[in-house]
């Protein structure tokens, strides 16, 4: 049963990812990425990482992707412009590069042993909000605080970059 669910969500995730590449309109690519993110969130639930699954929906699909869709609609770029053959030889270079990456991925896949380490059950569950929160405010307090500084920098940087000249 779990394997069937995994296959369903894996196919949805990979299909959404491929659809990003196949669409010419970036808006459809963004919507397709939202589908992939939702499927990954379902996989996180199957891995018993409930908190990460909720954050994936709320922050990624909810906030980041809304930002993307907003910018795509703001810029109002209808479609990918027709291909300009400025550097034609790059196209022939792309195929070997892509096949090398694919071959590398499959090579690594074959090396992974199919053993499954025993799962920890009950009180030692790692995916709960309690365990994430405890870790975040004890062992990982410094990264947490640095993250807040990073977000402040991102807010200021985005305001400066997106401002019109002369404002």
């Amino acid at each position: 049963m779990e394997k069937v669910l995994f296959i369903i969500f894996a196919v949805l995730a990979v299909g959404g990812a491929l659809n990003i590449l196949l669409q010419r309109n970036p808006l459809y690519s963004a919507l397709s990425l939202i589908g992939t993110l939702a499927s990954l969130s379902a996989l996180y639930v199957m891995l018993r990482a409930q908190f990460i699954a909720a954050i994936q929906i709320v922050v990624y699909a909810g906030a980041i992707m809304v930002l993307f869709v907003f910018v795509i609609m703001l810029l109002n770029v209808p479609k990918e412009q027709p291909v300009i053959d400025k550097q034609k030889w790059l196209r022939y270079l792309a195929v070997p590069f892509a096949s090398v990456i694919l071959a590398e991925a499959f090579y690594v896949l074959r090396l992974i042993p199919s053993v499954t380490p025993p799962r920890v059950e009950g009180d030692q569950a790692v995916g709960t909000t309690w365990s994430i929160g405890t870790g975040l405010f004890t062992d990982y307090l410094l990264p947490f605080e640095v993250t807040s500084v990073l977000i402040l920098m991102a807010v200021v940087g985005a305001m400066v970059l997106a401002r019109r000249e002369g404002d």
Partner: protein, 100 residues
């Protein structure tokens, strides 16, 4: 029970699709979406390893990766808006100078 290698294989596949997208697409927004896809593939690896080995550290990493992704999206989209305002194009082949 789904074996660990399935999750890692799915993650590798999604990462490869994202990497291929960065190579073949020309629209800067689509390239940005493919970068997000690669970040999510790595997140899947971290969550599955964390869950299988019973260590919450991996999921805390994912939390921080998501925060960095949010910051990156904000700054990156601001740069894209700025580029579009000056060049009227989102084709990466036409944006070949560091100045906006």
């Amino acid at each position: 029970m789904v074996p660990l290698s399935w999750y890692l294989g799915l993650s590798a596949l999604i990462f490869t699709i994202g990497a291929v997208g960065v190579f073949v697409k020309r629209n800067v927004i689509t390239i940005f979406l493919c970068i997000e896809l690669m970040l999510n593939a790595v997140n899947l690896t971290l969550v599955s390893l964390s869950s299988f080995f019973g260590d919450a550290g991996g999921q805390l990493f994912v939390f921080i990766v998501m925060t960095v992704a949010a910051a990156e999206a904000a700054v990156g989209l601001a740069i894209i808006i700025s580029i579009f305002r000056n060049r009227e194009s989102l084709n990466v082949d036409e944006v070949d100078q560091l100045k906006l």
